[in-house]
Symmetry: C2
Subunit: 143 residues, 2 copies
Amino acid sequence: MINSRFAVAVHILSILALKERETISSEAIAGSVNTNPVVIRRILGDLRRARLVVIQPGAGGGARLARDAAKITLLEIYQAVEDTALFALHPQQPNPDCEIGANIQAVLEVTFDRAEAAMFRTLAGTTVDQILHDVLNRAREAS
Amino acid sequence: MINSRFAVAVHILSILALKERETISSEAIAGSVNTNPVVIRRILGDLRRARLVVIQPGAGGGARLARDAAKITLLEIYQAVEDTALFALHPQQPNPDCEIGANIQAVLEVTFDRAEAAMFRTLAGTTVDQILHDVLNRAREAS
DNA sequence: TTAATTGTAACTATAATGGTTACAAATAGT
DNA sequence: ACTATTTGTAACCATTATAGTTACAATTAA
């Protein structure tokens, strides 16, 4: 299972998209996500390194989007916060003296890459802007 | 990251596909996977419950495919050994008093389901038979 | 100068993961 | 009936991942 950092990262960027041009503190974001501000700052660090947000340190500081929300895809967010491959191979190297053991990992890698790529394509087809609009539509319908 | 049980399960079924109609013990499989037989038996238990293998207990017992390797897809294997959703949501419920917090999870679920479904479609397009043939082709090329 | 804020290290608690031992139950072969 | 083999599963262990927390130096606005 892909951990919650990705879900939280999308949440963070949706907040920044809503409050465009404002600078939002990790504490304010933590209030919406319902966690500790340090957890948010760690994820914001990944997003900053991926050039998705700009962070202003010091008093009155915080984060804002580095570019328009319509130009940030979920794939970019995923790659900013996840570094491992989607599928794990064997915990130990299989037996190289077995016909299957010697070759299964190379074959699985190709298959796994294809499956991961399919998932990536759908993430690349959704932007932060779209997420925000879906969220606001739901908020409107609920009221 | 999806754990190694899926990779090992595909490995197991490839062995059973190679030794069609034979009954293979968890110890023999463990020798190829390079792990403890109990680890194999646990995964075989999932595969049996999913009706992908048939297991013969007792002396001379072991596992064999429940049907032709060309009729077993990687998606069936994935669903046999994985029970959680691909993407985790937030560790804690987001703040329901925040417009974003109150609605982000419902929106993410839709998006995550689409991404997962795309991955599933590619897994459904590959069979154990194809994996086995790719493995054997590599084995031949390497010799 | 002060207060607010980030960045990061260090630590904790909990859960997931894979491996191991142990043993009852089932079964084949004699 | 006896023996040897094998599965199924519980119990436990070590390692790693995960998320949360405290603490504090560095940065910055006012």
